[in-house]
């Protein structure tokens, strides 16, 4: 039986936190690579 007006708030919050964590880890590595300079000048 479907509950009326149900919205998965917990799942959405968890998902957004997970995306933010992945972006943080990925961008940290990416910025280290960028700061280390050109390999094909």
């Amino acid at each position: 039986m479907k509950e009326e007006g149900f919205f998965p708030k917990g799942a959405v919050a968890f998902f957004l936190l997970m995306m933010a964590f992945y972006a943080f880890v990925w961008l940290s590595t990416y910025l280290v690579m960028v700061s280390r300079g050109q390999t094909q000048p």
Binding site: F7, P8, V34, G37, T39
Partner: protein, 145 residues
Amino acid sequence: MDRAEKTALTLAVALMAFFAGLIVYAAKALNIDVPTCITDVKPFTEGKVIQHAPNRYELHYLAKMWYFEPAEVEIPAGSVVDIYLTSGDVIHGFQIDNTNVNLMAVPGTVAYARYKFDKPGVYHIVCHEYCGIGHQDMAAKIVVK
């Protein structure tokens, strides 16, 4: 499909596209590319430093148990260096600390990378592939003045 489910899928795909876009940007706009293994150069048997112009160098690194040849190279800041690497015995690693240069020295092949040394300092090179009892002492350096 549920609206929240649809939004989650869209967000995940958008994030992956964003990551892929940044990688393309690094390669095309910032000239940060992956190293290459070249097949048209015969593996050499000795290390060499060749200067083509005041700020243009070619380094031939020979990796052997448990040293790199040449062990120390001195170049001026701003130099563009073509690095060729081969191995005289087993598989070795070649990483120049704090740079994007990270190669494998495989016997019978030549690995290649180009790097511009803008900042003065000592760049340590380490073997990062276990190659035997003296692996931890296998190092070299590039001094940028």
